[in-house]
């Protein structure tokens, strides 16, 4: 059994704000995104596609952590709740926290699961989306 890689420093970050960004939902940002995912729905000329919540802000990948993590990373998936549509021109703020660590032995060896929660609010302070994601480090 590999000893736990979860340090006291890592535990001290549980349920604290890990990082936050505020950004404008610009037309070009959305256009680049819908071109990348090849979703030609004309609705995305006016609204932000909900899948952008799963992608932007490095959601899937290289989230910056204030501590050292094992070097290799896979995205375990996540769940999203959408509360109201986001229009192009809105301003969003995302706040991210770590809510849990889990460790498992698997075919890739000892794996550390970091479970994060991100909440998104718009310029009126309304909650627009919420996410829980799992990153797998090994």
């Amino acid at each position: 059994m590999t000893p736990s890689v979860v340090t006291e420093e890592m535990k001290s970050w549980l349920n604290k704000e890990l990082n936050r960004i505020t950004f404008d939902v610009e037309k070009v940002l959305v256009r680049r995104y819908v071109e990348a995912v090849e979703d030609p729905n004309p609705r995305w000329k006016e609204f932000m596609p909900p899948s952008m919540f799963t992608a932007i802000f490095a959601e899937g990948g290289l989230v910056q952590y204030p501590f050292k993590t094992p070097p290799k990373l896979l995205d375990g998936g996540g769940e999203w709740e959408f509360f109201r549509p986001v229009r192009i021109g809105d301003t969003l703020t995302a706040v991210r926290k770590i809510i849990e660590y889990q460790e498992k032995e698997g075919k890739l060896g000892h794996m550390l699961f970091i479970i994060r929660e991100t909440q998104w609010t718009n310029q009126k302070g309304e909650l627009v989306a919420k996410n829980r994601s799992t990153s797998i480090f090994y």
């Binding site: 995912v37 899948s51 992608a55 932007i56 802000f57 990948g61």
Partner: protein, 146 residues
């Protein structure tokens, strides 16, 4: 203009029209840029192989986007995606088609919303579900819309 689907049109067990996507290496690079996900396993084959992977792999988040497109194409302008949960179980490689599928599993009304719960998944060429999940959408109802 696509025809709007209504709550009354959906029966439990009904299949969502499948969406076929053809991810390429170029698409993975575009998605890396658009999503700021610069994990090299999506564009650097040497790094992917060194990490024990079969080659560069499709971003799990790109598969999420495909599954979300499956839903937003289906529900039309008056529907709203309320919730989606997706697990990344298997890896997909660029150059191989991904088929997004789904079916309605539950139909109910809650807090005045006409909701449909669905099972959704991506399928590879071998018929394996590489990203299974569940989604909840609200649809307009013929009984409440003008």
């Amino acid at each position: 203009m696509k025809k709007q689907i209504y709550f009354e049109d959906v029966e439990v067990g009904m299949e969502i029209p499948p969406l076929i996507k053809h991810p390429t290496s170029v698409q993975l690079v575009k998605f890396a840029g658009a999503s700021e996900d610069f994990n090299p396993i999506h564009f650097d084959k040497d790094k992917a192989l060194a990490d024990g992977l079969p080659g560069t792999i499709v971003h799990g988040r790109l598969k999420n986007a495909f599954l979300i497109q499956l839903m937003t194409d289906w529900i039309g302008d008056e529907g709203m995606l309320r919730k989606i949960a997706i697990q990344h179980r298997g890896m997909d490689l660029p150059g191989h088609p991904i088929v997004c599928k789904g079916k309605a599993t539950r139909k109910y009304i809650e807090a005045g919303q006409h909701l449909i719960e669905c099972e959704v998944w991506t399928e590879n060429e071998k018929g394996e579900k590489t990203a299974p999940g569940t989604a909840i959408v609200s649809l307009p109802s013929r009984s409440t819309s003008k």
